[in-house]
């Protein structure tokens, strides 16, 4: 193996490890995607790279670019709604062009814009996992020419790592939200029971009556039950009003106890 190719292999391995690290650690997706774009330029015979991701409605957005020229070309693609990247994203297949000058009819506006920025060769890959295509990777060459099959495979592998990372991070975020909701549900239940206790003690009520008092107050003040409960427990709410209403049965214990002021 020549020194050059050994060096290249090392660089390749390091790049993959660097990207794969993002699958394990807490990381920033955008940071990873920026790194990916610049890695493409180091590892492949290309001069620029760009990454686009789709939003919920299937519209592509430019997320990272290795150079300003690449960024302009990608922005233009999205705006003009034409180009190899869009095609790759929509068909979920790679789109390779040796010389954009031959594709004037295919993408008239895009081809002209790209050449203006100095690019002739182009290779677009979908960011895809099974049936999910979430964006595309664009590789630009100043000189016309196609990527070799070997380089094409490397490019696809880089795209795959990016795709898995993004989907993984989305899944974790979704799950985190569900967990937070579960925690919030438990917190709510707990604080409501605590508030019932506070009212029961202050108003000499049973737990059922306390709960009714809380609910009534929340309804009348258009607040969430758990918020009212939290304020009662934290001492931010004068419970006299709540307890005054519960004294409707005229019992002697209906008088609220003092000392429940918000200054506590």
């Amino acid at each position: 193996m020549s020194v050059d190719s050994a060096h290249h292999e090392q660089a390749l391995a390091a790049a993959f490890v660097g990207l794969a690290d993002t699958l394990v650690d807490d990381y920033d997706v955008i940071d990873m995607l920026h790194r990916l774009a610049t890695e493409c330029v180091h590892l492949l015979p290309v001069d620029a790279a760009g990454l686009l991701l789709s939003d919920q409605r299937g519209n592509l957005r430019v997320v990272s670019s290795s150079s300003e020229q690449a960024r302009l070309v990608d922005l233009f693609q999205v705006e003009a709604n034409e180009g190899p990247c869009l095609e790759s994203f929509r068909t979920s297949r790679p789109v390779a062009v040796a010389d954009l000058r031959t594709e004037i009819e295919r993408w008239p506006r895009f081809a002209a814009q790209a050449e203006q920025e100095g690019f002739r060769g182009l290779h677009a890959l979908p960011l895809r996992l099974r049936s999910d295509t979430i964006g595309a990777l664009n590789l630009f060459r100043v000189e016309p020419g196609l990527l070799s099959p070997a380089n094409g495979e490397i490019a696809q592998a880089l795209a795959d790592v990016a795709t898995i990372s993004i989907l993984q991070e989305r899944a974790v975020r979704k799950h985190e939200i569900v967990v937070e909701q579960l925690q919030a549900a438990l917190n709510s239940r707990v604080v409501i029971e605590q508030a019932k206790g506070v009212l029961a003690e202050r108003g000499r009520l049973d737990m059922g009556e306390s709960f009714s008092a809380l609910r009534r107050y929340a309804r009348n003040h258009n607040q969430r039950l758990s918020d009212v409960a939290r304020n009662v427990v934290d001492g931010h709410l004068d419970t006299a009003e709540m307890l005054g209403r519960s004294a409707g049965d005229g019992s002697a214990s209906g008088v609220p106890r003092p000392g429940a002021g918000p200054t506590r």
Binding site: K174, E176, V178, L182, A185, L186, V198, E201, G259
Partner: protein, 243 residues
Amino acid sequence: MVDLDRFADQLAEIVAHGGAQAPRSICDACVVALPVSGASITIMASADRQEPLYATDAVAARLDDLQFGLGEGPCVDAFVDQRPVLVPDLAGTSDNRWPMFLHGARETSASAVFVFPLHVGTIAVGVLDLYHVHPGLLDADALAGALLCADALLWTLLGLRSGDEPDGNGWAKETDPHGWLRGAPLARTEVYQAIGMIIAQLDVDAETALARLRARAFATGRPIDQVARDVVERRLRFNEENK
């Protein structure tokens, strides 16, 4: 010997099937497949806000109650630190992390305790408690099995099934998909109500009220649930003299 592959398949099936009974099934399967005597799951929003979900036997339930009642123990640490806490020998340990818990735990038939946090990213939702009547560490396969178990529990608690992909929005829509916390009263309802009453009786905050309740339970050697019931049923009051 743990047949990890078979256990993994079994867990996958339970998760795929889903449903409200899934966490119980996982705990039961755990006790059969792994070298442990019992298991329990507790949902937690914080160290002091716990809701026991299921225990395979009275010892597991007791260990859980002890930790909540005392406010210390491997459960609490595992939840707060989000790391498994393994205590292979309750009697022999010179651990002084949880003196009161160890004291109480040694009075049960448990000799070893292993606690695994249930968490996603940086957010913990509860713990899986395993115990064994004989002392000793879990071997590598048993440990792997316990971690699989914790994973499976997490999926069922979140109401997710294997193969779930993020939906169009990427966000889950349902809170508490199996109603763990809706409907039926919380297992520790009276403790929380008692805390509220003590807040009013002593004019202190919730944390202090819980500390006082725990102190009373410890001093009288009674489970915290019982002391709480006394408070709620007005047989016991906290005031400046007796706090």
